[in-house]
Symmetry: C2
Subunit: 304 residues, 2 copies
């Protein structure tokens, strides 16, 4: 039983005429006769009663007619569903993100995406860069917002840089240097440092250490919190100073001041990673949306 045969059968049953069905299907009458005969032979059952003047659908034929119509309708529906899925308008999207770096723009981006793709089921997972890597390997997420990963290509990942985050000095509001417009790393040589835990973001950690090294000292690190919010709280309480990406000023940062660094280390990117093998069209749809918003994201994160 093939859909082509069923299309023929439905046409004949509807028109009650082999020749007319042939015309509708852009073929010739003997082709129709054979298809019907073969269908009847395959099922071992008469479906149509025909004389030279009249074609009638048997009771058995009516039963098949119903199911044939269902199958053909299902084919049309399947085409539609496949098309929608392939264009990224339906399906799911599992997103890993670091809240500290994305708090400012991710809600807006997601809202915008959902408005345009309302039938895509979004799943959000807050995770560090390292956790995202593992999640990608286990195929548990489709997109990840994180700091640059080491050699993403070898893991089958593509990347899209969303914006560059400058490093800034974070001082308690009561700190003697808190009023300055600009600060050199050297000026912090004697300070106690609170740095984001190396395990979570080795690139950031090492960059700060080497920048201090270039400024002529090795920083005295007294705490390594695993959360940016903790880091801010520690600085606000006067325990030490920090060097951190500018984005964290959008977290709860009462009691801290953020001062641009003179001769700052190169800015650190926020990247959107995704699998190179395109198993999820929703990813492409999201990327399109993200690329359109990219300018806006940059403006949000860098200006002000």
């Amino acid at each position: 039983m093939e859909l082509k045969t069923l299309r023929t059968f439905v046409a004949v049953a509807e028109l009650r005429n082999f020749s007319a069905a042939a015309r509708r299907l852009h073929t010739v009458q003997p082709a129709i006769s054979r298809q019907i005969a073969e269908l009847e032979e395959e099922l071992g059952v008469p479906l149509l009663w025909r004389s030279t003047r009249e074609v009638r659908v048997t009771a058995t034929g009516e039963v098949l007619l119903e199911d044939a119509r269902r199958m053909l309708a299902l084919e049309v529906e399947a085409r539609e569903r496949v098309t929608r899925a392939a264009s990224g308008h339906t399906g799911q999207l599992r997103i890993g993100y670091m809240s500290s770096a994305t708090a400012r723009f991710l809600p807006t981006l997601l809202q915008q995406f959902s408005a345009r793709y309302p039938d895509v089921h979004l799943e959000l997972f807050e995770m560090t860069a390292q956790q995202q890597l593992e999640a990608f390997a286990r195929q548990e997420i489709d997109l990840g917002f994180s700091r640059p990963l080491p050699e993403p290509e070898t893991l089958g990942l593509e990347r899209l840089s969303l914006y560059q985050d400058r490093l800034m000095a974070v001082l308690p509001r009561s700190h003697p240097l808190a009023g300055l417009q600009r600060l050199s790393l050297k000026a912090l040589a004697q300070e106690a440092f609170v740095l984001f835990e190396r395990g979570q973001a080795s690139g950031l950690f090492d960059m700060i250490i080497s920048a201090c090294g270039e400024a002529g000292y090795s920083p005295r690190v007294i705490r390594q919190p695993a959360q940016m919010q903790t880091l801010i709280s520690l600085v606000a309480s006067g325990l030490g100073v920090a060097i951190a990406p500018a984005c964290i000023r959008f977290l709860q940062s009462e009691g801290c001041v953020f001062i641009p660094l003179h001769l700052a280390p190169p800015p650190i990117a926020l990247e959107l990673h995704y699998s190179r093998d395109p198993l999820r069209p929703t990813v492409d749809a999201f990327l399109k949306e993200a690329r359109q918003m990219q300018v806006g994201i940059k403006a949000l994160m860098e200006l002000e």
Copy 2:
């Protein structure tokens, strides 16, 4: 899109391996490759992601997979439904009947049929032989229980004789001849006759008239009721006598006696008519059942 292609797609998606799918489908791997490639091209969409080491179903492929399985399941169901319909186990059966002639056995026959074919929807229409003819012409009934019809073959009808009904004299219980075991038609020459209306059953009517003619008289017909029950009531009330098929003694016949006729006219058959063109397998199923019960019907109607 053809079911064959979808079967291939489902096999590959399930086995995640083109070669294994080829083996399952008893063909060769290049055939599978081509079918999948053509399906993807037709839909304009990647369904499977494949390397030489791994085959994965894309999100779009998963969507099609669901619908493909539905279609294939529907095909299996359709086959089953068609088979059941063709064997007469499902469907409908519209039956015309004359209650006077069938009251005795039809309920039993229907009950028996329903027990064996519980999913056949029975529709019953009480109608005279003439009405049955018209109903057949309009294709409103599939089976008709009636007296023999004139030239049923020319109307595309087949017939099955169920039993032969003798004609009997029907007299009021108070009638002088009511005590006899046997009666000649001649003995009724002076009686007033109540005969079943000719329009309803011309064969019966004419047979009685000609039988009387052979007995040497023309009966004096004072009433021609259209219902057998009415005829019985008229006789019971003493208005006249009647000649009628033996079967009517199974109606409400208090006050009447039924007496066998000496030199009776040939018995009159009860027939089951049905269309020659087999549009309804339920008809064949019913006929099979009816033929099996035929002996029983004869016994019921003739003995006693």
